[in-house]
């Protein structure tokens, strides 16, 4: 790192000869010195519209670096724009060489990105068009997915069984600790909040009903869905996205594999199989959390609690939760895999894909959860 000398004095002077400008540089032109003079000088050039030639004098120039070169190029570009011929022969050899290098490849037309201000209407229009493309992609992916599911059912779909097993291991047993923690705490919170309200009416007895129904019908599946969207959905997007960056997906295609069958299907199957099991486990952990509050704080005996739970929760309530969990599994795998497949070919694109997989996954889960709940309510299930 060169020493930055802020106190270095520098000066630029314009000398008007008969037919040309001579620009004189004085003192130090290094990083940290001032470039004020250059702007004033360029402004003053306009006063002499008849002079069409420019030369430089650097006899008094002491020290220079990229700062000097950059200012020099500003002057030269300005002169070129005004159709003033620039003669650089009077500059030292080193500077001439650098200038030749800088101007050897002309700036490509349109290479510089235009910074345009877009109006509100334009940006709304653009995002609508983008949304249309996005929707088309989602539907196309869904179509491919359905086709691959058919070939899987027919028995022609190909993936490695060992991959399926790895994914099951990955999203099942490996995610038990976090599922345990979260669902236990959710059950606990549910019981606590509910109990405070219920005790106003002296109805703490119904705590078990609240927690049992809440966990089995709703919170168990929802919590597992959100955990898995963050954990597994993101990991699917990152895995497939990195494979895309590495051309591994192209390689698979050239070997005659359908990436949909080979990469997406086993991941989706794993989630569809594992999600209901995780949900059942989460239901149980949630009730345990509820029991902890009921027994510890509200003087309900454990026998009472379990009897109430047994009475309140019917088998169909558990099934509703499991059904939701399977649907969430499909949606998580869908959003994780599509974001991975759409991933661009750079490291930051993989990060974006993972983020977007989680966001899409959670949105899908919440929307579908509302729809299913309304539907079941109407059907009286």
């Amino acid at each position: 790192m060169p020493k930055i000398n802020n106190t270095a004095k520098n000066e630029i002077k314009l000398i008007i000869k008969k037919e040309f400008f001579e620009i004189n540089f004085f003192g130090n032109w290094t990083v940290g010195s001032s470039a004020k003079g250059v702007e004033e000088l360029l402004l003053s050039l306009a006063d002499y519209p008849k002079i069409r030639k420019m030369t430089f004098s650097t006899k008094k120039l002491d020290d220079w670096d990229s700062f000097f070169m950059a200012q020099l190029m500003v002057i030269i570009n300005f002169a070129k724009n005004k159709k003033i011929t620039v003669d650089i022969k009077s500059l030292p050899k080193g500077i001439q060489g650098l200038l030749d290098l800088a101007y050897s490849v002309p700036e490509r037309d349109g290479a510089r990105k235009q910074k345009k201000k877009t109006s509100l209407i334009e940006s709304i229009g653009r995002s609508l068009l983008k949304a249309k493309v996005e929707l088309k992609n989602l539907v196309t992916f869904l179509g491919d997915l359905i086709q691959s599911s058919f070939s899987l059912i027919k028995g022609t779909g190909r993936f490695r069984f060992v991959d399926l097993m790895t994914y099951i291991q990955d999203c099942g047993p490996a995610s038990l600790p976090i599922v345990s923690l979260i669902s236990f705490l959710v059950g606990l919170i549910l019981a606590f909040v509910g109990a405070l309200q219920l005790s106003l009416f002296g109805a703490q007895m119904y705590l078990a009903d609240l927690v049992g129904l809440g966990m089995t019908r709703e919170m168990g599946a929802l919590m597992v869905g959100i955990i898995m969207a963050g954990r597994t959905g993101a990991s699917y997007a990152a895995q497939i996205g990195t494979m895309n960056v590495n051309s591994e997906i192209d390689a698979l295609k050239t070997m005659g594999f359908n990436p949909m069958e080979f990469l997406v299907m086993p991941r989706m199957l794993a989630l569809i199989l594992v999600m209901p099991l995780l949900c059942l486990y989460a239901d149980f952990m949630g009730m345990l959390g509820g029991a902890a509050v009921a027994i510890g704080l509200f003087d309900i005996s454990s026998t009472e609690y379990w009897t109430r739970t047994e009475l309140a929760v019917q088998f169909k309530d558990v099934l509703v939760g499991l059904f939701k969990a399977s649907i969430f599994g499909i949606l998580i795998a869908y959003s994780g895999c599509i974001r991975g497949m759409q991933c661009g070919r750079s490291a930051s694109a993989v990060g974006d894909a993972a983020t977007s997989a989680v966001v899409t996954g959670i949105i899908f889960i919440v929307i579908s959860d509302s729809l299913i709940t309304i539907l079941f309510n109407q059907l009286g299930i």
Binding site: D250, A251, K253, T254, M255, F257
Partner: protein, 250 residues
């Protein structure tokens, strides 16, 4: 007259409205070591992706023999592409599998061989590229040059008639790159394969190339074709000479 293996007719490559190359018209003959060359960003790799059926040409056609690659019969395309093997720039080995599993993958997909026979072929292919005994290594455990050679072993797994290479010597030291050139030559001679490679490595181009096409990024089309050695002597196009002679005057 040698038989044309791949024929490209009036092809235009584009991403949306952005044209990369237009009016491409050339033939790759059986037994050629065909070089796709040109400066950076001229669309060499994109052309290769078109040839292996990854990207649909926006205009024009690609023929394998007499069959149109993008003809109406979709299953036909799969059959045609089964004759090809591709080595990607980075090797593109599946990182979750060992080298052995990587090479076994296309074999188990396209043949009915049992596990033992597949493993024997895998060992043979690995020894061809000088990686005997590395079957149980993961791609992340070996060097870049080795990954590339393993990728080559996978590309050759099904004894393809046409082998595609994307920048085979990029990132290799001169000796490994020379070894790879020799390997490509002997593959062509011993397996009677046709080789198509994307490269701008002059040493390789002159050492093994027998036919070529030169893509120019500014005029967005091909400006020369033929044997690179002859091109250097006979071409009158300044851009081609500049490229092939590293800008020395003729």
């Amino acid at each position: 007259m040698t038989e044309a293996c791949i024929t490209i007719k009036k092809m235009t490559m584009a991403y949306g409205d952005f044209i990369i190359q237009r009016d491409l018209d050339f033939k790759i003959n059986q037994g050629d070591i065909f070089v796709i060359m040109g400066g950076s960003g001229c669309g060499k790799s994109t052309l290769m992706m078109h040839l292996i059926g990854m990207i649909f040409p926006s205009k024009g056609n690609i023929y394998y023999g007499n069959e149109n690659l993008w003809g109406p019969n979709a299953s036909n395309q799969k059959l045609l592409l089964n004759k090809t093997g591709v080595l990607f720039q980075s090797g593109a080995l599946l990182s979750s599998m060992t080298l052995g599993e990587n090479i076994a993958l296309p074999i188990s997909e396209h043949t009915e061989l049992n596990k033992k026979n597949i493993q024997e072929i895998v060992d043979y292919k690995l020894s061809l590229v000088g990686l005997a005994g590395f079957s149980d290594f993961y791609p992340s455990e070996i060097s870049g040059g080795m990954q590339k050679r393993a990728g080559l072993a996978r590309a050759m797994a099904l004894d393809p008639e046409i082998l595609f290479f994307d920048e085979p010597s990029a990132g290799l030291d001169p000796i490994s790159s020379k070894l790879l050139d020799d390997l490509i030559l002997s593959l062509r001679d011993n397996l009677n394969a046709t080789i198509v490679m994307v490269t701008h490595e002059l040493a390789s181009i002159f050492a093994i190339g027998t036919n070529s096409v030169f893509l120019d990024p500014e005029s967005k089309t091909m400006i020369a074709e033929g044997d690179p050695k002859k091109l250097l002597k006979t071409s009158k196009d300044e851009r081609v000479i500049k490229f092939l002679s590293r800008s020395k005057k003729k």
